[in-house]
């Protein structure tokens, strides 16, 4: 789960990391009130779960409350890389002397948390890594041992921080960031830029935080930060029914059992010349209710012109799944043609059941590729 900047900063503050003073605003009037409360000049920042806000015009400085209101009116509702701006973070402006970059991520390859620090902040870190990799200090932390003060020193000395007081501030901040990262079950904590103010103070001017979905059960407060509006309507409906669903752009609705098999099904549809409309995983089972729920979600997508149901029978037998499909079709009306591919346990019995039902909308195919081709044909 990705957090908005203001939510990430809230978590940072809990762990003692310095952030700017600010307020959340959902309307231009609230932005104006926030600017009045904060006093002086403020920066009005679009809250979206994507990068490139500045370039898109989603971050603007206002020197007065009325100006903050004007900026807010312009930014709210803005579309930034297909994310609609519905929230703003209004923060007191900071006099910036230098911009650094500090992050802590989960390095899957090394299976350890990874610190990255550079004095060349404020730009995309991928750019720095590509253009000037030697200025980026990378340091792994042993997850069993946790953070030690030397990690902080290795980062600051490594990046060539000359000022001793500044170095100590950054080292403390690294320790706090590690605590936040592990304490919140984060998979990413990125501060870009981490600024040194004109007064020599460190400040996290931005916050990009992702939390491990599997750990949300033990962070109810963070789970409550989730904004359902960031999830497409279909995905929300599916999630409520406990179906794993990802919306895509094509015209072939897809469902199957098991994540790997469904991914493979998407690929086969592409090979057959079609485009998948979604990823939908029923999981290991294929009971009637799961089938009804999934078919409801997929058939409701107006882009879907055909549905490809791909099942490998293991412990769940294909004849059970066939009964589930027939029961589902008895409960709901599906306008789109459905192509079914069964393999594995009792595949023959399953196909026979579907054939006996004699539904004109239901097509059984023996292999994945043939079924994909059929679905693509029917979607034309």
């Amino acid at each position: 789960m990705d957090l908005y900047e203001y939510q990430g900063k809230e978590l940072f503050r809990r762990y003692g990391l310095p952030t700017g003073e600010g307020c959340l605003a959902r309307t231009p009037a609230e932005a104006r009130a926030a600017a009045e409360e904060l006093g002086g000049s403020v920066v009005v920042k679009a809250q979206v779960l994507t990068g490139g806000r500045g370039k898109a015009g989603g971050v603007k400085v206002a020197t007065s409350p009325p100006e903050a209101e004007t900026h807010a009116a312009a930014i709210l509702g803005m579309d930034i890389k297909r994310h609609t701006v519905r929230r703003l973070w209004v923060e007191r402006t900071t006099e910036i002397a230098r911009e650094y970059y500090l992050s802590l991520t989960l390095d899957r390859g090394a299976k350890k948390p990874l610190f990255m620090f550079t004095t060349e902040g404020g730009v995309e870190i991928e750019e720095v890594a590509a253009r000037n990799p030697e200025v980026l200090v990378r340091l792994h932390v042993d997850p069993l041992e946790g953070f030690h003060p030397w990690h902080g020193r290795a980062l600051t000395f490594g990046a060539g921080i000359a000022d001793a007081a500044e170095r100590r501030q950054i080292e403390r901040l690294c320790a706090q960031l590690y605590d936040a990262f592990t304490g919140c079950d984060a998979t990413l904590c990125e501060i870009n830029p981490l600024v040194v103010t004109a007064a020599g103070e460190l400040l996290a001017l931005d916050a990009k935080v992702s939390i491990d979905d599997n750990a949300l059960y033990r962070h109810e407060d963070i789970a409550a930060m989730h904004d359902p509006e960031t999830v497409p309507v279909e995905e929300r409906a599916a999630r409520e029914k406990g179906v794993t669903y990802v919306k895509l752009d094509g015209e072939i609705g897809i469902l199957g059992n098991g994540a790997g098999l469904v991914m493979s099904t998407l690929d086969l549809v592409a090979i057959a010349g079609g485009r998948p409309a979604n990823f939908c995983d029923l999981g290991g089972g294929g009971g009637a209710q799961g089938v009804v729920d999934a078919l409801e979600v997929i058939s409701a997508d107006p882009q879907v012109r055909a549905i490809f149901f791909n099942v490998f029978g293991g412990i769940t037998r294909c004849d059970e799944v066939a009964r589930g499909i027939l029961q589902a079709l008895g409960q709901i009306t599906i306008a789109q043609p459905i192509v079914v591919r069964f393999d594995g346990t009792n595949a023959e019995e399953g196909r026979l059941l579907l054939a006996e039902a004699g539904l004109p909308n239901l097509h059984a195919e023996p292999t994945m590729l043939e079924a994909a081709k059929r679905a693509v044909e029917l979607a034309r």
Partner: protein, 290 residues
């Protein structure tokens, strides 16, 4: 021979008294696996269809000589259960549980590496050595005994490929689902290394998917350290970046972890990559006919 589980496997099932645990433990036993004990705190002294249940894994090991565990413990208690199994001195632990927090897996992975234990999973279907033992939830009837080693990050996709191999008359030494999470106990490389030294395994099939760089590492390992032929299949060419595709670990982050990059890395190391599950089975078949 086979790897990881075989006739000498003596299995303790963690959470044997749970619905999933009992269902699959009994299936595993019916297949011929020696399921010698169950562990479930507070259920010591009970039995499940004749399998004795102990309060702790430690007791189960002392009383029955168990040397492997299958873990069906719910996600929030699973890490603790895995530490318990490691500390009881088991050689092999197969964790079926899905949804263990990744930070717990970081620590567990490190801890397991400091012990003489093979941890498979979590979020995996298990391990089967056809004709010898089945540990986990893999539907055994699909797989035949043979000389093809099969290792995968997926469940049903593995069954599909195993089934296609069986249709062509090809069986398996061992089939391993290493799990769909970002951090799992055993990597492709760990398993490939064991297939390389297993005398019965002649060919290996590796089934990868988007996310991480384990397939790329495995490609280099195959080129540098393996003599046996390896074939591969990768799922997720059409997956969009930034979206988790069912498995927690199946996500393209930025531009890394794409199926295309994995395919190119594998091919650069001389590993043939099948475009469909059927094609990869066909490639293996043709190789055996040479």
């Amino acid at each position: 021979m086979a790897i990881i589980v075989d006739k000498s496997t003596r299995l303790v099932v963690q959470n044997l008294t749970g619905r999933e645990g009992s269902f699959h433990a009994l299936r595993n036993r019916a297949y011929g696996t020696q399921v010698v004990a169950g562990a479930a705190p507070g259920h010591g002294g009970e039995d499940v269809e004749g399998i004795p249940v102990f309060n702790t894994v430690r007791e189960a090991v002392a009383e029955t000589g168990a040397n492997a565990a299958a873990t069906f413990v719910p996600a929030r208690f699973a890490a603790d259960a895995l530490y318990e199994a490691i500390d009881a001195g088991l050689e092999t632990i197969v964790c079926i549980t899905e949804g263990i927090p990744v930070h717990e897996m970081l620590r567990l992975h490190r801890y397991a590496r400091t012990h003489e234990v093979t941890l498979i999973g979590p979020n995996c279907p298990g391990v089967i050595s056809p004709g010898k033992a089945n540990v986990g939830i893999i539907p055994a009837e699909i797989f035949a005994q043979g000389s093809v080693g099969l290792v995968s990050r997926s469940g049903t996709l593995t069954y599909q490929i195993g089934y296609e191999l069986a249709q062509l008359g090809l069986g398996n030494t061992t089939v391993i689902g290493i799990g769909g999470d970002a951090i799992v106990g055993s990597s492709f490389i760990d398993i490939l290394g064991r297939f390389e030294i297993d005398p019965e395994t002649e060919i290996v099939v590796m089934v990868g998917e988007i996310g991480g760089d384990e397939e790329e590492k495995a490609a280099r390992f195959v080129a540098e350290q393996m003599t046996k032929p390896v074939f591969a299949y990768i799922a997720g060419f059409t997956a969009p970046p930034g979206k988790t595709m069912g498995h927690a670990g199946a996500i393209i982050s930025g531009s890394s972890g794409t199926a295309q990059a994995k395919k190119e890395a594998l091919e650069a190391c001389g590993i043939e990559v099948g475009t469909t599950p059927t094609e990869v089975a066909q490639l293996v078949y043709e190789r055996t006919r040479r």
